[in-house]
Structures are given as C-alpha cells and as structure tokens.
C-alpha cells in the first residue's frame, strides 16, 4: 500500500522558470487536479462498497420475505414439520392452514444427496490431489490438472442433463437387473453426478493444503526410512488436516447450494427417506419449483421459497466462514 496523501508531493508539471503567470496557472491546475483526484477516490470507494450493498440486499430481501412467511406459517412448523406439500395451498383465504410447510424432508433430501456426492468426490478428489503432488511426473501433471479444470468449467446444466438423461436410466436398468426397485429420479443418480462436479473443488483445494506443508517435514520422514505412502499418511495428511477440512467444508457448501443438477435429476416429491434409490427433493429444487410457476408475491408458497433461500444462505455462509477460519488458523501455524 502506498502513501495516500496527495498533499505531500508536488504534482507532475515542473515549474517553467522565470514566468510568474505560468506558475499561477500551475497552482490552479494543481488545485483542479487535486479535486478531480479526490472525486476519483470517492468513486473507487463507492465501487468497493457495492459488494457490501449486495450482501445487505440479499439479507434484507430474504429476511423481509421470510418474516412475512413466518406470519403465515410458524417457524416451529417450518423447521421441524415432517410434511411438505405446498401445492395444496390453493385458496387465498386459507393458505396458512391448508398447505404443509414442514421442511425437514427437504433438509434430509439435501443432506442425502450431499452425502452421496461427498462420498464420491471425497476419496477421488483427495487421492487425485495426493497422486499429482507426490507421485506424478511433470508430464502426467500437465495432463491431469487441466482435465480437472475442464471438469470444473462444465456448466451445471450440462451435468444436470448428464444425470437425468444418461446416468439415471443406466442406474435404473442396473437396479432392475439385480432386482432392485429404483426410482427414475433417484437420489443416487443426482448424488453421483454432483460428486463428479465436486471432484475438482476437493482436488484443487486439497492440493493447495498439501503443497503448503513445508518440504522439511517430508524430507525428515523420508530420512527416517518411511515410504512415500507412510510419509503421506502419517506426516503430511495430519499436518494438512485443517486445510483438508476446509476443502471438504467448501465442497459440502457447494453441494448444498447446487441447483441445476438436482432440479433436473432429483424428484419433486418430499420423501423422508435415507434410501438412495428413492426419489428425494432438496431445498434448491423446491425454491425453483415454488418460484417458476405463476406467482403472486403474497402467497405462502412464494414466501416459503424465500424462507428456504434464507436457510440455504445462512448454512452455506456458515460453512464458508468456518472453512476460512480453519484454514487461516492452519496458515498461521505453518507460517
């Protein structure tokens, strides 16, 4: 950061010797320049506050609509109710009483799909990061890393298409072949494909966490006679643990907030189940469904979407804050 007081240094133009008129001109010009620069700095400051305004806007709009929702439906019913069927609320005069807005099945469905995706992406992403950091030669690394970046750059709607039209039918066919009843919009298909989407997040963040561990630790372990795998498992991974925890937390946050894959491949029915072969629905799916029909701004249906959105926002924000804190503490420790 440089010294930011313009008054301490003279402006650019050198004074023309022996001409008092031009010196006075200079002074006027410098004054003008100073006020223009002050205005520019003010504009820059204003631009930097836009990010804060966006956060305030998000919080404000979500909280206002959620408060209106909680006038119609009690928070207790929303957070602990086991039945979700907002479609029943048809007549305007009985919205609060007829539709069921118990969001537990949505939370459970979100957790189920997130768990499947982390089960897929966690081992694959972590092992891929370990392999590229410790075993791969430069040529392999030059192929693997860009490939993972491509995986990260594919739009989620493409993953959704892949899950709904290619993976889900395969899983259903396999299920019927071994005698299992698989729903056509099973949590498994959505979770698997979401796992593929999450792989690059886990692998790149784990890679960062592993490679920041000082090389001395690795070398000491080798010098004691440990094999590479022993060094990794007993020395590197424990040291990198906070960074790895942060990587997984960010991946979970990303999976919870992911929308298109589940909108296209997961179901609409709010089943409260832990069976990955059944159809479940998620928070994001319900937000989309509640808001893409014809909508009046006042019905409990549309307001419920904002309550779900606020819950989603708080949970993902919390995960991110914890992840940032954990990795910052780790950085302080390793310097």
């Amino acid at each position: 950061m440089i010294d930011s007081s313009p008054a301490t240094l003279p402006a650019a133009d050198p004074p023309a010797a022996g001409n008092p008129l031009s010196r006075r001109g200079n002074r006027a010009r410098r004054k003008l320049q100073r006020s223009v620069e002050a205005a520019i700095r003010l504009a820059l400051l204003a631009a930097s506050t836009v990010a804060v305004l966006v956060t305030i806007g998000i919080l404000g709009s979500l909280i206002v609509e959620t408060a209106r929702f909680f006038e119609l439906v009690s928070p207790g019913e929303f957070f602990f109710g086991l039945r979700w069927s907002p479609q029943i609320a048809l007549r305007a005069d009985q919205v609060g009483s007829s539709g069921a807005f118990g969001a537990v099945p949505l939370f459970a469905g979100t957790l189920l799909i997130t768990a499947i995706s982390i089960l897929v992406a966690g081992p694959i992403g972590l092992l891929a990061a370990i392999y590229t950091a410790f075993y791969a030669d430069r040529r392999t690394r030059a192929v693997v890393k860009p490939a993972l970046e491509i995986l990260a750059g594919v739009p989620t709607v493409v993953y959704g298409f892949f899950a709904a039209l290619i993976v889900a039918p395969v899983i259903r066919d396999l299920g019927t072949r071994i005698g299992l009843d698989v729903a056509s919009e099973s949590a498994l298909a959505a979770g698997l494909v979401m796992g593929i989407m999450i792989i690059p997040i886990i692998s790149s963040l784990s890679d960062d966490a592993i490679t920041t561990i000082p090389k001395a630790l690795r070398d000491s372990s080798y010098a004691l006679g440990a094999t590479r795998s022993e060094t990794i498992i007993r020395a590197i991974l424990p040291a990198a643990l906070p960074g790895l925890v942060a990587a997984f937390l960010l991946a979970i946050s990303r999976a919870i907030g992911e929308t298109m894959i589940v909108v296209m491949a997961a179901g609409l029915a709010a089943n409260l189940t832990a069976n990955p072969l059944e159809a479940v629905t998620t928070v994001t799916v319900q937000i989309v469904t509640l808001l893409t029909g014809d909508q009046e701004f006042d019905s409990a249906k549309t307001l419920a979407a904002f309550a779900l959105g606020l819950t989603l926002f708080i949970v993902t924000l919390g995960l991110n804050v914890i992840a940032l804190q954990v990795s910052r503490n780790a950085k302080l420790r390793h310097g």
Binding site: M1, A12, L62, Y131, G153, T156, Y159, T284
Partner: protein, 436 residues
C-alpha cells in the same frame, strides 16, 4: 547388502520378521500408488463419458431429415392474385402454402385417397414446412407460378423412424404402415436425406423439435452477458483498485475483504432470489428481460472480478509505483498510467473467466423468469428472452424425443463458446505473463 561379511546374520534388519514387514510396507506403497492412479482414471473416465455422450448425440442436431418434393407455386392453389407485368406479387398471410404441399404430395402418391389418408400423407412433413416455403417465396417472388424441386423438412416421427430403421421398425414407431411405405418409396428415389440444418443456429424455440433452434437463446445470452460485462467490469476493477491502492488498513477494509470472499461462495440461486425480490419486486423491472438477467449475473460475477483484479494489481512490483511517484506522479496518476496498464491482462483474464461462469449459469435466470417458452428472437435488452443454458434446461425437460438431440447440440454450442472464452483467457495470460 546380504553378502557383506561384516553383518551378523541374526541382526535385526535381516530377520524374517523385518523382511516380511518390509514386504508388507512395500506392497502397501504399491497399492496406495495404484489407488491414486485409479482415482485419476475414474475422474478422467467420467469426464470422457460426459463429453462423448454429449458429442455423440449433439452432432446430429445440426442435421435434419428432409424430403425432396416437386413444388409448384401455383397462384390459384395459394390464393394469391397473379401480378401484372412488372409488378411483384403480394404474398399475403392468407396464402395457403399447406395446400401447395398437399397437392405436391398427392401428385407424387396418387394412391392416397380419403381425408384420413391424405392427413397421414401430410403428416410426413414438419408442421413448419409451410412457413419455410412462405419464406422462400417472400425471398424470391419470381418463383410464383414456377415448378421447382425443394427440400422440405420431414416430421420428427419420420426422423426417428429412419434412425431406428436398422433396429426395430415396428414396435416403437409412431408411423403407420402406409406412411412407412411412402417413406420407403421416397427413399428408393433418393428423395429422403439428412441435410445440414442452418436454422438450428438462427431460429428461436419451437414446439416442434425439427424447427427449434438456438438463435433466440444465443442472442438472449449475448444481450445478458453484455449487461453483465458493462456493470461488473468497471465496478469490479474500481473496487479492486480501491482495496489494493487506496484503502487504509483498518477494520472496515478487512470486513470488506471478508465480505467479498464470502460473496464469491454464495450459491447462485440466492442471487436469483435477490434479483427477483429487488429488480422485479422493488424496482418493477420487466420479467424475463436480458437486462434483469444481466444485472443479476453481474452481482454474481462481481466478487470473481474483484478477486482476480486484486491479485493482478498486487502483482505489479512496488518499484514501478515508487519510480512513478519519484518522477512526481500523484497516486491516482500512478494507478491510471502505470499500475492499471500493467495489471490489465490479468484483469481481463479474470473477467473472461468470470463471464464464462456467468454464461453457463442457469439457476438465477430461472428465478427472474427467463424460463418461458419464447419463440421470437429478442432484439433489445427489455424483450422477453431466453438464454442458452436455460434453453438446454427447457429442452432436457421436454418429453418430445427429438429434443434430446437438440439438447446435446445446444450443449455442444455452449461448451464450444465456453472453450473459446476460457481459451482466450489462457492465451492472454500466457502472452502477457511477466516475471519481474
């Protein structure tokens, strides 16, 4: 070192226990290594399955089945007045191009009798065939009264029958036996072919798969991204300049930085809710408009651009600033004349990557209503429009079989555009990368 004479054969590290443990450790080392290879292979496999399955279906989207017919633009059948010498015919909306197609088909197959048979005959052609003929006559009015051979788009059912002909032709087909016979007769004459479908890139959405195109969605995406760029680029760069060059090191600044980092991780659908509540609800902007979509995506892209720009500005070495200051430049002049030009390639790279992300984003656009069925190609920022990823979502949800091919085609186009954006970003980074 087994043959070394000095070693006591009973020493600890040559004992049976030690050796077997070493074998075990080495075996685990090998297995661990294979595990890593397997993980990468799995990731690579899923990437290739994803790309191959899209490619295999998608290339077909740029082709469609067409039937060659002898078309006579008979003014009498069309119901158009024959123009006098030197005048051009006026093609009215009431002109009956369906009748022209019907006549042509019936001349070709005189065996079709009765209303239902004629209806089956006409059903071989796409429902949009008449409109395409009309376009052709409007383009070239001299065709009126002439007889030409024209390639007419076939219906989606014909398209599917031809594709599955090798497999089972009967059970899955929606064509009647008579229709199959007609198509086979046409095919024997070389009058049925898969031809390049230019309309796929120019026309808007349609209920008929063979007529649907991504033209409208492409324009919608372009308009949306223009708004996104115009809003997020100046704001993002300005914020980054402030934070890197002018911000005092105090609590407010640190809060600002944390805030921006957190904003970058907020789920995109939440930005959609913000757009819905603020731009549509509070400001009353039009639904489904590219300007609203662009603003919403701009807020989402803003943190990405700020973070990338800050990194790029911070990479400018301190002595550039010191030298400029030493020559008498003011802090603002230093930024404008030295720091920003040097940092610009990095800033543009970050912006391109942010735009690529915005381009593939779907969920926020669903929230602000860019999900409607829109046939017309949008012409300005407030027209109702769709965007390419939203079009993909809509077609993927559609029960019509023909749309699977269209989805894959649209995905191919989207991936190609994203590839161009990302490729440009990488090239830029490589070309202007400086090591001080």
């Amino acid at each position: 070192m087994r043959n070394c004479a000095m070693v006591d054969p009973k020493s600890h590290w040559q004992s049976q226990r030690f050796k077997s443990r070493l074998r075990r450790r080495n075996r685990f080392e090998r297995q661990f290594r294979y595990l890593g290879i397997a993980a990468i292979a799995l990731a690579g496999l899923s990437l290739s399955v994803l790309l191959v399955s899209v490619l295999a279906n998608g290339l077909g989207a740029t082709y469609r089945t067409e039937i060659a017919l002898d078309i006579e633009f008979d003014p009498e059948i069309l119901g158009i007045e024959v123009p006098g010498a030197g005048e051009t015919a006026e093609i009215t909306a009431s002109a009956d191009f369906r009748a022209v197609l019907r006549t042509s088909l019936m001349q070709r197959f005189p065996d079709a009798e009765g209303r239902s048979e004629v209806r089956e005959l006409v059903a071989l052609l796409s429902r949009g065939a008449a409109a395409e003929l009309a376009d052709r006559l409007v383009e070239d009015p001299a065709l009126l009264g002439q007889r030409i051979e024209a390639w007419i788009p076939a219906s989606d059912d014909v398209n599917f029958w031809l594709k599955s002909e090798a497999g089972d032709s009967g059970s899955n087909s929606r064509l009647s036996e008579r229709q199959v016979a007609w198509i086979e007769a046409l095919a024997a004459d070389d009058r049925v072919a898969r031809r390049f479908n230019g309309r796929f890139f120019s026309s808007g959405d349609s209920r008929e798969p063979e007529l649907a195109g991504i033209g409208g969605a492409l324009i919608g995406s372009a308009l949306t991204l223009l708004v996104t760029l115009a809003v997020s680029f100046p704001l993002g760069v300005a914020a980054a300049v402030y934070l890197e060059e002018f911000a005092p090191d105090n609590r407010w600044t640190r809060q600002l930085e944390i805030n921006i980092n957190n904003l970058a991780a907020v789920p995109s659908i939440v930005f959609g809710l913000l757009g819905l509540a603020v731009f549509l609800g509070l400001f009353g902007m039009p639904r489904s408009a590219p300007v609203v979509g662009g603003l919403t995506l701009a807020l989402m892209t803003l943190p990405v651009i700020i973070i990338a720009s800050r990194a790029s500005i911070a990479a400018v070495p301190f002595w550039i600033r010191e030298s400029a200051r030493g020559l008498g430049a003011s802090p603002v002049q230093v930024v404008a004349h030295q720091v920003l030009p040097i940092a610009m390639p990095g800033i543009v790279t970050g912006t391109l990557l942010g735009l690529a992300r915005a381009m593939g984003e779907t969920a926020p656009l669903l929230m602000i209503g860019m999900v409607a069925f829109i046939v017309d190609v949008p012409t300005n920022f407030t027209d109702a429009a769709s965007a390419l990823p939203v079009q993909i979502f809509l077609w993927a949800d559609s029960p019509e079989r023909g749309f699977v091919e269209k989805v894959s085609g649209a995905i191919l186009v989207l991936l190609a555009l994203l590839g161009i954006l990302n490729g440009a970003a990488i090239l830029l980074r490589q070309k202007f990368e400086q090591h001080w």
